[in-house]
Amino acid sequence: MIIDKFEKKVILITGAVLSLFIFSMLYGRSKYNDLPECLPFDKAYTEPKITKLDDKTYQVYVVASMWQFQPSQIYIPVGSEVDFFVSSKDVVHGFNIHEKNVNLMAVYGNINKQTVKFDEPGVYKITCHEYCGVGHQNMQAEVIVNDPAAK
């Protein structure tokens, strides 16, 4: 097998670049939102609910259905850490919190989980980004961080 000298260099560079990519991906897991938690199904999560565990810690059970999220407005104070447990009552839905890198699929008979901290006040839109039928384009909810109405 003839390996040209340029080919050798390129093989080395390719190896280095790939290692860099894989390293970055693994390193990024500790700094940013990681993959969702894998939970076995439990019916308890399939009723929409907001639970305040303590001042800065919340659990939200989100139920997606055609064509709404329940709860559709989630009020929390600045600095809260929220565990989202996402499920679906019917078809597959998407759950994307803008600016927060939270990106989950809501699937019937399955529970998806992601934890996210809200350090800045504001309104964070949650958009359904998986086609879920004729009303798909109406399906949005929001997280309202530090709204005076929350207190």
């Binding site: 990024g28 894998c38 078809v91």
Partner: protein
Amino acid sequence: MTTQTTERRTHRFPALGLEQGGMQISRSLKRLIYWELGIPLALLSIGIYHGLMQVIYRAGVLQQPAFAKLDYYQGLTLHGVINAIVLTTFFAVAFGHATITFYLKREINKTLGWISFWLMTVGTAMAAWAMLAGKASVLYTFYPPLKGHPLFYLGTALLIVGSWIPLYDWARLYRQWKRENPTTKTPLAVLGTLVNFIIWFVCTLAVAYEVLVLILPWALGWTPTINVTLARTLFWFFGHALVYFWLLPAYVMYYNFLPKLAGGKLFSDTAGRIALFGFLLFSVPVGVHHQFADPSITKGVKLFQGILTFGVAIPSFITAFTIAASLEYAGRKRGAKSLLGFFAKLPYLDPKRFLFAYLICGLFIFIFGGLTGIVNSSSVLNNTIHNTAWLPGHFHMTVAGPVFLAIIGMSLYMYSKTAGKKIFMPRVTVIIPYLWTIGILIFSTGLSWGGLIGEPRRTNLGMTYLNPKHALYTPEWVPTTMLGLLGGIIMFIAATLFLVVFFGTMAKKRTEEAVLELPVSESIHDEKRIPLLDSFKPWLVTMAVILVVAYVPAFIDATRNPGPGAPRFTPDNPMPVQEVPAPTSNVIKGDKTTSYNKTR
């Protein structure tokens, strides 16, 4: 148009087909190739019409659910199925028939060829009816528990099964050739076609199982529920390998035709073989990276397949280097001097080598398609862009970049050669890929940018998010969807021009000898045959091992972690088609399956 009656019994094989410019093939094979190119290109008119309509809706120009009695999501389904499944599959089969026949110098079995054609055509007709009748607006991924018409699933399955048949025949011809030429290197194009259809066969087993065993009985109401995560996992076992099935015909053209068209030689034939076997190993066991955001699949499985996905970048890196080096060789032969001067010396606008323009434009677009793909396969970055407009931004720069341009360019090339007809409007023909490139770069810039700021894919944005009168109006997405609209219009014009050229060529009279002719590139180096790179067995065994390691845990997760299965839903109704019957003892974990639906 069945065949045996019209077919001439004597097949003429000129001993030195290449030197004479082409190879005589039977009328039956020619007709098979014409139909397999013509049917999907005729359907493409529906596909690109709906492509145009989508950018119009998404930009908020149309603020309604349907136009001309065709619903947005119905159009999206037609766009995806026709462009990404029907066109690509028909073309891969026709192109496979041509490469196998041309490089092995023996014709395929016409009966099997026509059986395959009819299965694919009847399947396509069934699915097309279901989609056009509005009974299967479930998109090309048809995720349950959204249910389409059973004929949609059956049609898709027939299309796939029809495309399996040629592999059986080609493998027979290959073994025959191998016995006669035990020490000659298998032609690279033949290797490419066989690798491609082996990948296709393996990955479509999963989707065939999904469709025939899980979905069809459920869609017909024979089984009450379906495990959605298992169905999604089976779909993506197929779904990612599918993109390599689209891409490999283009790779075959890059390695075997492009150097010759550029006026040079292939830098390394061995590199091509390594790349092809690399695809064989890594194309399939990476599908879970489409499910990074899915529940019920453990992080370890996702990460492992995420890393394997970087493995599939290796053959593409090899190709990028080898093809660039081949083009440099061609440029220097044509008088280029400086370091990158060869780029200026290539035959970009030569109507006689129009195929060069299609292939080089595809390669250029693919640079961006590849880079955005690396973002998608990185689990952490995927959190930002998963299922946003970024995704169609990415895959239009792959499937609608190198793949689409190679398919249409090669369809025209094969047709004009085997029919002996001159190209209709040759100057326009050579401009089309550049127009397409400009369009797609604008279009994908809009989608990628939109995706980064949360614009969802697969959404009729015009009704709500891009409608200034609606409460959900999101003005940030105005510039992104406008870029999408502009790019989409340019792409639509380019594709329409192509259809005019193709069918215009078909309408012409034969003026030249009608032969099967493909460009043949020589290698720069005379590389020796390496037995390991000229044998399928070791690679197939390795492929099986990696597949088992990567996918058995994924299927275990998808079977164990989910709870109750889902009943059927149609896109227009939040209530299931039929309530889930009361659980019986053999349903998964009896206590948990109790009437999840009835609690509503």
